[in-house]
């Protein structure tokens, strides 16, 4: 499962760092032409405006995540197990993203397997900000979720399912 996710083309809009691991060696940003669809997601306190997203395998999505809440949120894509592991790590770290420091998974420079959470596309959004995340839905994967794993946020309701039709 983790391996499959690694083959995704993904971009972290906040850091402008891209992962090329296992993606045909391409280090270039995904151009607008490659994007099949833009999905706007509203992140509030403590919810996402949709609880389910229908996406086709292979479809490249540009997520525009708008934080209309009063506190920082994140948008992370992964299966339930990876989300939970990420949540545990966030809990141990006291939930701080520390202004971009100290959270390997959000640096986006190393998407290789090994460092926990590093393989999950994710973006952190400050209150009032909008962030973008480009993601290509994988083939033959199910059970994907999107979530905010800042301590307590997932538990309070910040998660949804990605339904990959096909």
């Amino acid at each position: 499962m983790r391996k499959t996710l690694l083959t995704l083309a993904l971009g972290l809009a906040t850091t402008a760092a891209f992962a090329g691991a296992g993606h045909g060696g391409s280090q270039a940003a995904v151009s607008d032409a490659d994007i099949d669809r833009t999905i706007r997601v509203e992140a509030g306190d403590m919810w996402f405006d949709s609880e389910k997203l229908n996406i086709a395998p292979g479809e490249t999505i540009k997520f525009e995540i708008v934080n209309t809440g009063n506190v920082e949120h994140e948008f992370v894509i992964g299966d339930a197990e990876a989300q939970e592991a990420h949540r545990k790590m966030m809990q141990e770290m006291g939930g701080s993203h520390g202004g971009g420091g100290g959270h390997g998974g959000h640096e986006g420079h190393d998407m290789a397997e090994g460092e926990h959470g590093g393989s999950m596309p994710s973006v952190t959004i400050a209150p009032g900000d909008t962030a973008e995340l480009v993601w290509t839905a994988p083939q033959n994967v199910d059970g994907l979720q999107y979530a905010c794993n800042i301590p307590g946020h997932y538990e309070a309701g910040m998660s949804g399912n990605i339904d990959l039709q096909g």
Binding site: G44, D45, M46, W47, G69, N70, V71, Q91, P151, G152, H153, E155, A156, G157
Partner: protein, 606 residues
Amino acid sequence: MANSRVITHPMSRRQILKGGAALGLGSAAALSLRPSWANPWGQTNVYSKGVEEGPEVSLAIRRESILIDGKEARPISINGTSPGPMIRLKEGQDAVLRVTNLLDEPTSIHWHGLILPPGMDGVPGVSFPGIAPGETFTYRFPVRQNGTYWYHSHSGLQEQLGHAGPLIIDAAGREPFRYDREHVLLLTDWTFEDPMAVFRNLKTAEGYYNFQERTVADFFADVREKGFAATAEMRGMWAKMRMSSRDIADVTGSTYTYLLNGHSPEENWTALFKAGERVRLRVINGSAMSYFDVRIPGLKMTVVAADGQPVQPVPVDEFRIGVAETYDVLVAPEDDTAYTIFAEAMDRSGYARATLAPREGMAAEIPERRKIADRGMEAMGAHGMGSMEGMDHSGMGGSDMQGMDHSGMNGSDMQGLDHSSMQGMDHSNMQGMSGEENRMNANGMLAAGAAQPGSRYDQAGIGIDPGERRMLVYRDLKAFTPWPDRREPERELELHLTGNMERYMWSFDGKKFSEVTGPIHFNKDERLRLILINDTMMEHPIHLHGMWMELENGQGELIPRKHTLNVKPGERVSALITADAEGSWAFHCHLLYHMDAGMFRVVKVS
């Protein structure tokens, strides 16, 4: 069914008619002896159950025979149940609550935690004259808030007789969390003794309900661990303070049956869920005297509201709930299995229990009760023992106290320690002793939101081993948005919580309510800081009516709003108040017998 009820209570029927009130006898709530909100399926969009729904509600107060824990009891009932029905209002409504007194003595209802006009607050002698026998009083107020609250009598010791119930206000807007189902968990402490007899026992014999005095065996165990001199010294110290180090609660499980939604642990009230649901538990401590430590082994609880006000979510394993506090927690049981809701009394003399299960008739293991804790030296915090202040107690459970170095506190420091002489102590020299950086404002006072030196917001309190599981502490509570009034406090008002256990006298600043000459005065619209210094060896849940207290727990502009503040022994706690509610308001310790003994003041805003 309605008829049979009328036949059973012909007097009540006549009095109802005399009272001229529509008492809602036809509603489902009035027909069962069991609180209808304690229905095992709880409230969901689908399973809406009978409750007293606003905006117009009629309540009849009676004394009647109801079985409690399977035994004959004579509680005070509200619409036929004890504890009373859940009152459900909606934010934005104009509530009309008609309360008819069918007792042979005056009564009242106080809507705990609600911001409302002073005449509607329900405190006899402060807000209104009370409700005389046979009379109906109509409370009318706009509902301007939402969340989990409760209501109870503010007359004499009636609250001890079950004169209390949940008060839930549905939000007009979206709440900062999602859930599929909700349950109310109301904790109470029931005694089959007459509350007046309980009070007399407390007055005549300190430790009457405390069977956990240290024994000779304990003494020798201490000597083995600490040596003879240290042990004798500690014993002598506690004796001088006329306290036992095991006085955790003054009324205990020796008389109390701890109830959850009116049911004893053996009756095992069951809250149902379906696996995969997110369940909101609205936990209310409606007991007279008992603090509880609440946990559900196997489930993480995420605290999403405190005293009805939303807070940024905190996942915990356990939380301590002081008398009159409320916490809303979310749980997400994923397995098709039963979980025990375990509310252990702080003094470990008993517990309330229910089961969270996918079907009725299930039960899970009941956790072992923890050992009774000793009051540690931390209780001495505000007693002028400056060297204690800078100490890091965070890693210490009550049982770890042996390892402490008490060398700085020799017996001579303790001599002549008398609570009454502690007033007027200058605590200003304690400022800056806590670990954090304390900013001062122009008046030389601490900046708004900063934690006072002498506060212990990072500790849950006595009898908790912080390493055992993640326990909620006051420091965790953080609002979503700043309270609109961001003014720095213009002045500080310092009050000492004082007491004499031996004579069972409890007071503020050493004066019982019967001895004070006038109210505490707040200037209308002033911004003030209330500082509470606990000079006693017990926890006190301090409740201000009519206005929020913003607990200065170090969260800056996101400090949480509360109606009841737990002040631990020796602790110094502060809150910011915007004195915008003109009128007279009650201010008191919410331990019922402490309030009755004199730990009560009137606050006048003008």
